[in-house]
Symmetry: C2
Amino acid sequence: MLIVQKYGGTSVGTVERIQAVADRVAETVANGSSVAVVVSAMGHTTDELVALSSALTRVPSPREMDALLSTGEQISAALLSMALEVRGVRARSFTGRQAGIETEPVFGSARIATIHTEALQTALSEGVVPVITGFQGYAGEDVTTLGRGGSDTTAVAVAAMLHADVCEIYTDVTGVFTTDPRLVKTARKLSEVSYDEMLELANLGAQVLHPRAVENAKRYQVPLVVKSSFSQEEGTYVTETSNLEQQSVVTGIAFEREVARVALIGVSLQKHGLAAVFGKLAREGVNVDVIVQSVVQTVDADVSFTVRESDADKTLSLTRAMQEELSFRDLVLETGLAKVSIVGAGMISNPGVAARMFEVLAGNGIEIKMVSTSEIKVSCIIGESDMEKAVSVLHTAFLESSPAV
Amino acid sequence: MLIVQKYGGTSVGTVERIQAVADRVAETVANGSSVAVVVSAMGHTTDELVALSSALTRVPSPREMDALLSTGEQISAALLSMALEVRGVRARSFTGRQAGIETEPVFGSARIATIHTEALQTALSEGVVPVITGFQGYAGEDVTTLGRGGSDTTAVAVAAMLHADVCEIYTDVTGVFTTDPRLVKTARKLSEVSYDEMLELANLGAQVLHPRAVENAKRYQVPLVVKSSFSQEEGTYVTETSNLEQQSVVTGIAFEREVARVALIGVSLQKHGLAAVFGKLAREGVNVDVIVQSVVQTVDADVSFTVRESDADKTLSLTRAMQEELSFRDLVLETGLAKVSIVGAGMISNPGVAARMFEVLAGNGIEIKMVSTSEIKVSCIIGESDMEKAVSVLHTAFLESSPAV
């Protein structure tokens, strides 16, 4: 059995925690498994390195930024290797280059092109635990980094290329929950979710598992387990299909605060300017989420879409600059909104779920401003002041009482 | 003109100091020179990394220790490159591997085997300043470090292989002095010393320039300049021969505290055990310095030698264990000693210098316990309580009054 274990920054944040991680790896080896480990930088190392570069320049060279940031994981990989050897476990640290993690030649957010696994396989065949720096690779002679969620991505890629039996993602929570336990006391840990559900639960799970890693896990069919490095609790399995017969219709309740809605009133549909506006927003780094178009006349429509509140001003000015092209009559911005979503693979075969969601929200006096649906998710845009109540009543309705509609 | 500039840990210790270094490099480039830079780790980075590893294990894997420590210079190299680019100077950081610095496959104290200079030469030919991590190289797939004085060694090796016109060593003192200015107020900065003098002044100069780097500079005839990164003062030139006609007989007064003397009384010279005892001490890491053998009978001799006080106990027990082999009658340890040396290339042609030194010391009531001479140095072992006075009176006699004997 070959296990890839990934330990995040909090899990290796101090010398004591590195020792706890070493104990866990040693235990896994003692149980007869082969282990490859992927580590993040210790705690706030990356922030400290960013602070140093910020003190020197507002626009650091991307190549040098990657050279700088990649040292964080090198430190934790070397330290964990030492801690393993003290425990009698043969170990060897691998930088992205040493591990053969070749990326496209892009700094700051490179994608992994391939992994030349010979060195890792040699180590494993010699009974040596490779301790691999997450978040980084190489392109030509340069060090590259993978951007946000990079260590998760490294772990999944290593697991895929080594054909590991499982990729364990150790973090500071015990797994994926039906919703945020800080918001809903009755939230419970899921024993299993599908890749797609995990992706839809992204904003719940982003702290836990980066969507990009989930996508790659799905693509290469790498079974994931999310669990805590601070306890022995069973984690949450993320696999292709959870057992359809047993599962409840709704797996979890996701939510997002600080949403803003931009409404274009009376857009001329003949002008085809909508694609242009969304293209422009994307190029400017504005992430447009829910889009709703309601035809009110034959030639005009109202189009509204949501963005992060922090992007609202930028969105307004970019959209206003295109008023002629779009020929809308009016532009309305509404802030102070939130998005609440119910997620579950079982929805596909349960068409009444969306209606039930609207009922529950309406029954609790919560106004729904926009709706968006996918095969395994229904999202409602509501007032942010209603959000916590909405999550709570939806959790009660879908995850605590009746198991199906 | 190609200049290699090496900046030590103090010179790059803070963001502000890195900016000052960047200013100096930019100025050198603006003056029309090509520059390659070698940097140490920032200030106490290396100590902090060592502390982390010490918290995990008393005997860290040498490979992992090198992987760990090498990150310190990677950080400063990336940061300095950023600071240079902000100033409009094209720059690129190079790890030991990227710079092609191949070493023997030894961790912790590898010697440089060769430098594959293609990448550095390409950068220089493109007008890019290579900012090279000192102290490290690679062997096979592994990162290796060069041990104490490693960054100086890197700088000299890079200068040698690139056929640089000069290698400037920036540090926190303004040059090499006739003796320690903290001890003797009238000590003055030397404008020039020879490689050999610099080597003999080692314990004065160790904080300034590592002996190993001086040896390599001599071997490859790399002109060195030692100067301060905190001022614009002229430094000290270290070259093959200083101008023999102009130079004074004595260049500097070196000294060393905490010396212990071990005397073996009545050693049987027939037994040839002396080589064995010094071999054994060397293998155990005891650095034997001055050795004096005085024949008192035809078959017996008194042999005394000096070691560091911190090695005295170890030396005694190792020597005592060989009493049978050596068949000495008695073993005497004396601590609280010091070594004072006068150094100067001009001594070769001035045979009276040693006698003058003994006169000066005796005239000041300082007892000489052992003497050792080389072509350009005379060392006396004296009581440590006499040391400061000895340095002072020797400085007055040789470096302040008459320029020659």
